[in-house]
């Protein structure tokens, strides 16, 4: 199971995998022998103690300075962005941010950005481009905020513009889907050279609940919708929509933030190394080709 998910060239993480295999073999004798089902993964992806962007920034990056505001309208705490160092190398890091208490959940708007969040993210990404620094983004949102003010200020335009501009960024862009990859609100900061996805993360065109209420006309069918939508990391990898699955510690990322961060760190290093040496034009060209190839159709 685990080996099948890994792309070739993952040698440096084999220790982790072997440890995990042993642990899971031991666990199999007593506990749940099955890998988590789709709905369990949905719950894990949304787990309130799952590491969020600021946790990864703290555990994997150093010298982080948060940068605020879109210089157009306001600040949006549902996305955090800033400059930092990754293994000493200056970089930009940004991502969706959820809260864990009632107060911080509200303050972070449950990780649902408004247009100013996306515009801030792009502003900071352009800063990285100007000074030739790599960009790391972390994806964990139920979706862009569906509200009157967000619509008034052009939620759709903000997302669309990011999609177009990210395709052109001349610096390396490494994306990791860490929790919920909620539709356009996720994709708006997820156009990258390498797209990683945590083992128990989900990535979908619509939330299972939203899909159920439209197609089944009843949110109670969310579990069925989750299955039908093919939202797990294995599904996304199979369709060529992500580049690699990042394994999680036994029991899920929420059980051991430090272990998760160590595993992720290895994958981020490898991802950055794989695109850093390329010329700008080649990197941008490969990014284009990657997304260009996405789609399943026949020609009759």
């Amino acid at each position: 199971m685990v080996e099948r998910r890994m792309a070739p060239g993952d040698d440096e993480t084999m220790d982790e995998i072997h440890r995990r295999l042993k642990e899971s073999e031991a666990a199999n004798l007593t506990a749940d022998p099955q890998p988590p089902g789709v709905w369990e993964r949905v719950q894990m992806a949304r787990h309130e103690t799952r590491p969020y962007t600021l946790d990864y920034i703290k555990l994997v990056f150093t010298d982080f300075h948060e940068l605020h505001g879109d210089r157009r309208f306001g600040e949006d705490a549902a996305i955090v962005a800033g400059i930092a160092r990754y293994h000493d190398e200056p970089c930009v890091v940004l991502g969706h941010q959820k809260g864990r208490t009632t107060r911080t959940r509200q303050q972070r708007n449950f990780g649902m950005p408004k247009p100013e969040g996306y515009r801030k993210a792009l502003r900071v990404m352009k800063l990285a481009e100007k000074f030739n620094r790599p960009i790391f983004t972390f994806i964990d949102t139920p979706g862009a905020y569906p509200g009157i003010d967000a619509e008034e200020r052009g939620e759709a335009e903000a997302i669309a513009y990011n999609l177009r501009e990210m395709a052109k960024l001349r610096v390396p862009v490494i994306v990791t889907v860490t929790g919920e990859g909620g539709s356009g609100g996720a994709l708006a900061i997820a156009v990258g050279d390498v797209v990683l996805m945590l083992e128990n993360a989900i990535y979908s065109v619509i939330s299972p609940e939203g899909c159920a209420s439209i197609l089944w006309r009843d949110r109670a069918f969310a579990e069925q919708a989750a299955k039908a939508l093919k939202i797990t990391a294995e599904d996304l990898l199979q369709f060529g929509l992500i580049d690699k699955i990042v394994p999680e510690p036994q029991g899920g990322a929420h059980t051991d933030h430090e272990a998760m961060a160590r595993i992720l760190d290895k994958h981020l290093s490898e991802a950055l190394a794989s695109v850093k040496g390329l010329g700008e034009a080649e990197r941008v060209g490969r990014r284009y080709d990657k997304f260009r190839a996405m789609g399943e159709f026949s020609e009759r």
């Binding site: 759709a156 177009r164 052109k168 994709l187 369709f239 260009r292």
Partner: protein
């Protein structure tokens, strides 16, 4: 592919408008003001109600005919079909939905691509068909529009997209979502090539279509009264638990919030495009 067998040639699209209520065959009822209108007259008026100016929804093919010089154009990539990559089944199988949509519309998916001239300018028009699975953006729409953009870049053509869509196609899951990135990346290249792209948003344009190419035109224009937005009105109402203001997400609402260049009457759209292309294109 073997999964889909074409038993007979697809019927040509029904003339006229599907979404209006037909009474005696001779008359149509305006869905907005309920006026009973003579069918021939309303068609002559481009399916705009002469009483209340309601712009009725029209077929993708009619858009092409209305916009190209002499109504002449050559269709591109008409043979692309979705192959139901997820084997998606809700209350009905996606393969069945596709088959029914193909039968009822006479086209293979939710967009028609045409190449021709607009005011003498060599152009490509992508026209979305709302009655095909809600005009949703899936692999085929994504691929056809991307090819259209790449062709426009290669041949230095202008691009016009008429959007009419509920958003990304759920039945193709995240593959649909990625079409937003794919098309937007192609538009980035078109932008760098300094070629014109005029986006025309018609009723309705929502979700992932608005949040990608429909908002990326050099000019973004809309028909009067068109519903345009990211999130659906019901989702917003449920989130904020209050009634939405009058005219919310209508073209005029977006215009007043600075999100559109212009709201243009259907009868003036072709002229608007031609004048814009005269401004944008050299040597033609």
């Amino acid at each position: 592919m073997a999964w889909f067998r074409k038993k007979e040639a697809p019927k040509s699209p029904d003339p006229g408008e599907e979404r209006t209520v037909r009474t005696e065959g001779q008359f149509v009822k305006c869905p907005k003001c309920d006026a009973l209108l003579v069918k021939g007259e309303i068609e002559d008026n481009l399916n705009v109600c002469p009483r209340c100016d309601h712009h009725m929804r029209i077929k993708a093919a009619d858009r092409l005919a209305m916009t190209f010089d002499e109504g002449e154009w050559e269709e591109l990539d008409s043979a692309l079909v979705s192959n139901d990559p997820l084997n998606f089944v809700d209350t009905k199988g996606y393969d069945k939905r596709l088959e029914e949509a193909q039968k009822s519309t006479g086209i293979m998916d939710a967009v028609i691509i045409g190449e021709g001239r607009i005011g003498g300018h060599s152009s490509i028009i992508c026209s979305m068909e709302l009655s095909f699975v809600g005009g949703s953006l899936g692999s085929v729409v994504g691929e056809k529009i991307t090819r259209a953009i790449e062709r426009a870049i290669e041949k230095k053509l202008a691009l016009v997209i008429f959007s009419a869509s509920g958003g990304a196609r759920m039945q193709e899951g995240a593959i649909s979502l990625m079409q937003m990135a794919k098309i937007s990346a192609a538009l980035a290249r078109m932008d760098e090539a300094r070629l014109p792209f005029i986006s025309v948003l018609t009723d309705p344009t929502t979700g992932g279509v608005t949040a990608s190419y429909a908002m990326l035109g050099d000019l973004n224009i809309a028909e009067p009264g068109a519903q345009i937005g990211f999130a659906g009105p019901r989702v917003i109402e449920q989130t904020i638990r209050q009634k939405l203001p009058e005219g919310f997400q209508r073209a005029e609402f977006l215009l007043s919030h600075g999100m559109l260049d212009a709201v243009v009457q259907r009868k003036n759209i072709r002229e608007f495009i031609i004048d814009s292309l005269n401004f944008m294109m050299r040597n033609s």
